[in-house]
């Protein structure tokens, strides 16, 4: 008597197996995988500062940066547009968490280079990290003629270095925030009383306004080592616009410099006095190494 009952149960099960319409569930549940959280920023730079985002491996980012004169010059200098300072750079994505770059600025005819590496990247799924932790180390080489050619000058006097940690999180599709503790070391400073080492804390973020537009900002607060007069903390506020292969970063900033040494330690403009300038970064990425699609 027991057996038929059992069989009837099997019978029902076998019918239900046949009748089920979700065939994919037969393959079993997919195991959740660790997945990197991508596209925290549109570009590896917030505006001036490095962002927590990296270039895709095998791509080159050609960047042209312009900073015009200060707006407070009025119509005489067409609100600063008559003057421009620029930096041109080539950045390369080597691995998903490793990139290098080299650039040259008209300001001080300075060449700079950096390497950026992220031991931890924000991810979701098992064993994931809620934040990205990245490190940047860079060097700048002043290219101006010696200010005092009569004294003995060393090449090392042209050099400055910066080291930066980036701790960032893409909180949602639309909002990203990051903090950047930074140390800048200048081998040679203007006055004996000026410190060689500058410690600063940066903050940068992005608020997406639409699929292809975002509000961005970065601010660096110098904590230790700011020369006493004439220098201010750099604040930039901008709009990222993405069009196909380009990213335009339009912004206003009080900084002229476009490398870490220059914009963190040598920003002379004051927001309060209208000494801000219009600027734009143009980024165009090229795919150097293509994956095979066949």
């Amino acid at each position: 008597m027991k057996q038929p009952k059992l069989l009837a149960l099997f019978f029902l099960i076998s019918i239900s197996v046949q009748a089920q319409d979700d065939l994919l569930s037969l393959l079993g549940e997919e195991k959740p995988k660790k997945e990197r959280v991508k596209y925290a920023f549109k570009s590896p730079r917030v505006i001036n500062a490095h962002s927590m985002e990296f270039l895709n491996p095998g791509t080159m980012d050609f960047r042209i940066l312009h900073r015009f004169g200060t707006l407070d010059q009025g119509y005489k200098n067409f609100f600063g547009l008559d003057q421009a300072s620029m930096r041109m750079s080539f950045d390369f994505g080597l691995l998903h968490n490793l990139m290098v770059g080299v650039g040259r600025s008209t300001f001080k005819k300075e060449v700079d280079a950096f390497i950026k590496y992220a031991p931890i990247r924000q991810s979701k799924g098992p064993w994931s990290s809620p934040v990205t932790l990245a490190f940047v180390s860079g060097i700048t080489v002043d290219g101006l003629p010696w200010s005092d050619p009569t004294r003995e000058n060393y090449f090392s006097s042209r050099l400055a270095f910066y080291h930066q940690a980036i701790l960032g999180r893409k909180f949602s599709e639309g909002f990203t925030l990051q903090f950047m503790p930074t140390v800048v070391h200048k081998n040679l400073v203007q006055a004996a009383s000026d410190p060689n080492d500058i410690i600063a804390l940066g903050v940068g973020g992005r608020l997406k306004l639409s699929k292809r537009m975002a509000l961005t900002w970065d601010y660096t607060h110098v904590l230790v080592g700011m020369p006493e007069t004439g220098f201010y903390n750099p604040l930039s506020i901008g709009l990222d616009i993405e069009t196909g292969g380009h990213v335009f970063q339009l912004h206003v900033t009080n900084a002229t410099g476009m490398n870490e040494r220059a914009f963190i330690t040598e920003t002379t403009g004051q927001w309060g006095k209208g000494q801000v300038r219009f600027g734009f970064n143009l980024s165009r990425t090229f795919q150097l190494k293509k994956p095979k699609l066949d």
Partner: protein, 186 residues
Amino acid sequence: MKKSLFIFLLGTCLLNVANAQKFFTKTGRIDFNATAPSSPENIQAVNRTVTCVLDAANGNMQFAVLIKGFTFERALMQEHFNENYMESDKFPKAEFKGAVANNAAVNYSKDGTYAVTVKGKLTIHGQTKDVEAPGKLVVQGGKINTTASFAVLLADYGVSIPGVVADKINKTAKIEVACNLEPLKS
């Protein structure tokens, strides 16, 4: 009486199991191409992790595709595909649920090539539409090779193309599906 019921039920169970022969793959391939005729660059991608299950008994067929699994030649294009067009964080999967319309014409136990029509519901970018596509089933040595090709109108699935790239991205994308299905052992 008891015995005959027993045999009847056992037989039905076995029959059900035999009928329920299913085939599957987790490494199917989908080629996507939305290159406009005037475009200087190819807007195309490939996904090699397509999941498909086919029930030979009734021709029911299902596909699942992870949008993030599409690889483009240009990483930036892939980024835009995921972020701006397909919104793959919000809609991680595309799915098809349907059936081989002329399943009776296919003899799954005999080697051969069968022209089929597949009909069903295709869900992309959170939008579901009825689709119908001609395809081919090649039965060989207990395995099935399936191919199909069809076009989707991007606007049907709520994927809009901004003006600046309208000369590059076609309004319809060509989809080619190729799966080697193996028997599913349950």
